[in-house]
Structures are given as structure tokens and as C-alpha cells.
């Protein structure tokens, strides 16, 4: 039961990272990066490191997302390439 969940989380992480690389809308890229962060937090929970997972969830999915949205509002909304 355990390694299946970890495998699923890793697949979701890889998919989210690839989507964040290839999507044109930068806001959607931020959301997928937040998904990546939250999944890595879940992976750390499954490894037993609750404090690291908590920090990862708070910083990676909370503060970094807000700063990325702020950066998008300061520049352009869709990527050029």
C-alpha cells in the first residue's frame, strides 16, 4: 500500500513539472508548481519527516506561490517562447 502511493505522488510530480515547463500561461504554471510542491510535501510525510513536510507545504505552496503571482503581475501574463 505504501509504495503505490509514493509512486503515484512521484508520477504527479513529474507530470506537474513537465506541464509547468511547457504551458504558455504563466499563472497556470504557478498553479502547477504549487501542485509539485504539495506533492513533494506529501512524499516527505510518507517518509516520516513531518516537520520538513510542513515547512515545504507552507513555504513552497504558500509564500512562493504568492511571490510568483506578484512577479507575474509585475511583468507579462503569458510566456514568449
Amino acid at each position: 500500500m505504501h509504495w503505490e502511493i509514493e509512486l503515484l505522488m512521484m508520477l504527479v510530480m513529474i507530470t506537474a513539472a513537465l506541464i509547468a515547463l511547457h504551458i504558455r500561461s504563466l499563472l497556470a504554471a504557478v498553479v502547477t508548481l504549487n501542485i509539485f510542491s504539495f506533492m513533494s510535501a506529501g512524499l516527505m510525510v510518507s517518509m516520516g519527516a513531518i516537520d520538513v513536510a510542513f515547512t515545504e507545504a507552507v513555504v513552497g505552496a504558500g509564500a512562493v506561490g504568492i511571490f510568483n503571482i506578484l512577479a507575474i503581475f509585475c511583468t507579462t501574463r503569458s510566456s514568449l517562447d
Binding site: 500561461s25 498553479v31 510542513f54 507545504a57 504558500g62 509564500a63 504568492i66 506578484l70 501574463r77
Partner: protein, 184 residues
Amino acid sequence: MKSASTSPIIQVAIRGLMPVIQLVALYVFFHGHYSPGGGFQGGVLLAVSVMLGRLALGMDMSQVVFRTGIAVGLSALGVLIYASTGLAALLAGGEFLNYAFLPIPGLDPPGLRNLGILLIEAGVTVGVMMALIAIYDEIVDSRGEASATATPEPEARRMEDVRKPREKGVDPGPEGPERTPVAP
């Protein structure tokens, strides 16, 4: 950012969400002795609640929650709380940051260490929260001056198409931190 979001859904949702996030942050901070969490996570959660208010309600309206311009000084105050806790132990005869030597009467060494951990967690909380808010305020401030000197046309266009994506973009931020402490 600079001006408030035009969508009433965002405004009402953020106004309801901010006190909840702050309450969870205080729980995380004060319960750090007994469960995962502590100073850093609580401080980031408090900063996230204030920054969400800045993002959705605009800089003018969110001055009620936290005033711009005092964040950097309070961040220094947080580091000062931490360092002076260590220094008090040093002056009372122990090593730097050895809380068993804190000059507080009526407590045995384990109780003193417990209290010292709480003190420095408070310092970390204040320091991290104010540092993040200061970074946000400086970025918004510098942008405001830059766009005032630039042509007003792209600003107006940006405000128009900013309306829809905010509904998607803001929400996943607080959901992550809020869901986690309930799990254990």
C-alpha cells in the same frame, strides 16, 4: 497588488480566509512544543495571510491589517529577541544560547529550556513574518513608482485581464498550509 481586485468573490473570500489563516498560524506557533510546527512555519503563515490581503484588497485597504514601512524594523526586532535570549544566558554565566542559565527565578533547568525555546521561537516568528512582508512591500513600492513614470496604457490593459486569473491563482496558496496541521 496596488489596487483592489474588482471581483467581489475574491474580496469576500479573502476577508473570510485571513482570520482563519492567522488563527491556524498562532496554533502552529504555540503548539510547536507538542506537534510539528514552530516559529518558522507560524511566521510564514502569518506573512501569507497579510500578503493575501495585500494581493486581493489592494495596498490602501490592507493598511488596516498591517501598515507599510514598519516591517523591516520589526524583522530586526525578531532577530534581536533571539540574540538577546542567547546573550542573557551568556551574561548569567552559561554559554551562548544555553537556556538553562536564563536569569528567571523559580524554574528548574528543564523548565528554563522550555521557556527559552518558546522565546526564541517567538523571535523567529516575528523575524520571518516581517522579513517576508518587507520583501513584498518593497517589490510593490518599486513597481508603483516605475509604472507611474511609464505610459499608463499597459497598466490599464493589465488591470482588465488580471480579473479572471486571480480566481484561479490565489486559491491554492492557503489551501496547502491549512490542510496540513489537521492531518496528524
